[in-house]
Subunit: 382 residues, 2 copies
């Protein structure tokens, strides 16, 4: 969305909604107790297995004592769907909603409308597409995430998935657990990564880290983005800029998706765009599931046009039992985990605490954390 459109929307929001607009939703916590709701995945028996496991309902980002000692109310739940869920009960009077991409609380325009006290939406992690950002901007809410908190985690995971697909790891593992041994059944489609052409679509924080980690593998590295990366990094990694995405697609043996989910990128890899890719392409997507046309991916895996698909992002999440990606051939999928390593949890928990602290004190957040601020969306979401 262009800046002008946002401004127009914001103006309309002010005009239409009277007092429940930008002017009343600005980010200064009024004195007194706040109601903060956190939506995380539940750990159950796994919680006690790791003292640093803070990213779950039970761990509650390690914030309970700190928040309650200041007189705030802190509700945490994983129950986020449907009209009778726990989250829905607190929508009318919460001030702050914290969620994660791993178990996203979908914040629709309807929920925003109901949430009369809501001021602040925080993402513990990166990627705030679970929020209707346009509606949030129009309502004058602040949306912020812990930028950088798990970019290393995701980039590392992408390299793992590239290798898992290139090496045809999964059928090998299956043979082991089924008592089989058939080297040929793996090797006939196992390759070296060296010498292959790898293209990242999106070269933001994660894409850049991936390029750096790919450098010693001696691949041909390509990247597509709205803007060129720093010349120094381009030189360091040897990555070549491809301005025209559709011209880049047929060159790549391996394609990695590293874009945010926006109105522009939703469903952008449909049947036609997949057809432009090289036959036998391998795709890694740890960005967002909805960037792909779900059925087009499943069909291309079945036909062999896509020779391997790996990622940890789905739409919706949790992925239903009948999600076609669970059953398509040559997939190496997992639930959404790449950004929620124990190391990442500690970083994004610290980042959320820092922003809450600033919120209580009426201070600004680190500039790069803002996704929606004063009715305006961050550049990557426009």
């Amino acid at each position: 969305m262009a800046m002008k459109q946002v401004a127009n929307s914001a103006m309309k929001a002010i005009a239409n909604s009277g007092s429940s607009s930008l002017l009343t939703r600005q980010l200064h916590a009024s004195p007194g107790s706040k109601k903060i709701v956190g939506v995380f995945y539940k750990a159950n028996e796994y919680f006690t297995k790791n003292p640093n496991f803070v990213g779950c309902v039970e761990g509650a980002l390690g914030l309970r004592q700190w928040l309650e000692s200041q007189g705030h109310q802190y509700i945490v739940t994983d129950d986020k769907e449907g009209p009778d869920c726990e989250l829905e009960k607190h929508i009318p009077d919460l001030h702050v909603l914290i969620s994660t991409p791993f178990h996203p609380a979908y914040v629709t325009a309807e929920r925003i409308k109901k949430a009369k006290n809501l001021q602040l939406l925080l993402t513990a992690g990166i990627g705030s597409d679970h929020v209707d950002l346009k509606a949030a901007a129009e309502a004058g809410l602040t949306v912020a995430e812990v930028t950088g908190s798990n970019v290393v985690s995701v980039a590392e995971d992408e390299l793992m998935r590239i290798l898992i697909l290139v090496r045809n790891f999964v059928p090998g593992y299956h043979q082991v657990i089924t008592g089989d041994w058939n080297v040929a059944g793996i090797a006939y489609r196992a390759y070296d990564l060296e010498g292959k052409t790898v293209g990242t679509i999106g070269a933001g924080r994660i894409g850049k880290l991936l390029l750096q980690r790919l450098k010693p593998f001696n691949c041909n590295l390509l990247y597509h983005d709205r803007v060129k990366i720093d010349p120094e990094l381009e030189k360091q990694t040897g990555a070549k800029f491809e301005e025209d995405l559709d011209a880049m697609l047929p060159k790549c043996d391996i394609i990695v998706i590293n874009m945010p989910l926006t109105e522009k990128t939703r469903g952008m890899f449909d049947k036609d765009r997949i057809a432009k890719m090289k036959k036998g392409v391998l795709i890694v997507n740890n960005a967002r599931g909805a960037i792909m046309d779900t059925q087009a991916v499943a069909d291309a895996c079945s036909s062999g046009h896509i020779a391997g698909y790996s990622g940890d992002v789905w739409y919706p999440q949790p992925a239903p039992k009948d999600h076609p990606w669970r059953y398509m051939p040559n997939q190496a999928m997992t639930p959404h985990i790449s950004g929620t390593t124990i190391d990442a949890q500690l970083r994004y928990a610290a980042g959320v605490k820092d922003m809450l602290d600033r919120y209580f004190k009426g201070e600004d957040f680190p500039e790069q954390n803002y996704i929606v601020k004063a009715g305006e969306l961050a550049p990557q979401y426009r």
Copy 2:
């Protein structure tokens, strides 16, 4: 084995065996037709799926036409075990035996004794421990491999396995195919690689490539070997030399085995040595299965002392259906595949052809290819 012992053995061999010794087994092909036997894994229906799939029985390293046009006899088989197997039939009169580590023809002292015409044992790949090297040296055979042909393949695969263990990938994949979704069940023991201590035991060709590929991950890199690596490479990778293996073990979050299997390294990771490792250590072993004490590894995985074990090497190979590593917790094993990517197959097929050509012409091989030459073992096998 020390050089002096080899020389003594060779002298004894000459003394004991009369004419069937070093003097008659030297590496000059006498004129005329040679019988060459190749032992590879069978591809069956997978053979026709890839025109570059040369490393299997059906592909026969792409050598059939070339060998037969020169009047040589070329037998290929995967039938390598027991007294009635195809290989056994050809032992008495073959001149050259080609095998691979992926489906090894175990060349025992007994087989060497029977093989009166045998002059040359070639490994299509790297690692000639399937040959009784001492017996081969004593019999005056030449053993050679295609040094360097798949070191990149193996190093890449090791980095994949490190990440698979660090990220706890396998349980995530299981959830996908079983219709489950439980982020906590994966995340409670998923970590970043960044900042962890990774030690390679052995820093030869593969270990060095691994260190280079690990460099951008910002780990603490350690290595143990008989000798220090090149100072330039040490500086480039930041890897620190650990002279004392037992002192290095407790420092490592992740241990990668990169040594050949020799009389010294066989079973060297037994219960006692595993106990010296950090509790929760992750182990990657693409070197040889017999370097580990099989049951000690399985027990330590069950107790949790080893938090993850991944590799593609077993003893014996093919691994029997009841091999304990198939059933131990937190394993990410495959059959022996890391060095037999399509890219590697093309390289080691070319290397075998080159050595056969030199053999027919009475020329020396590239020096680094020799494992046994004139009764002497290569340094890494002594």
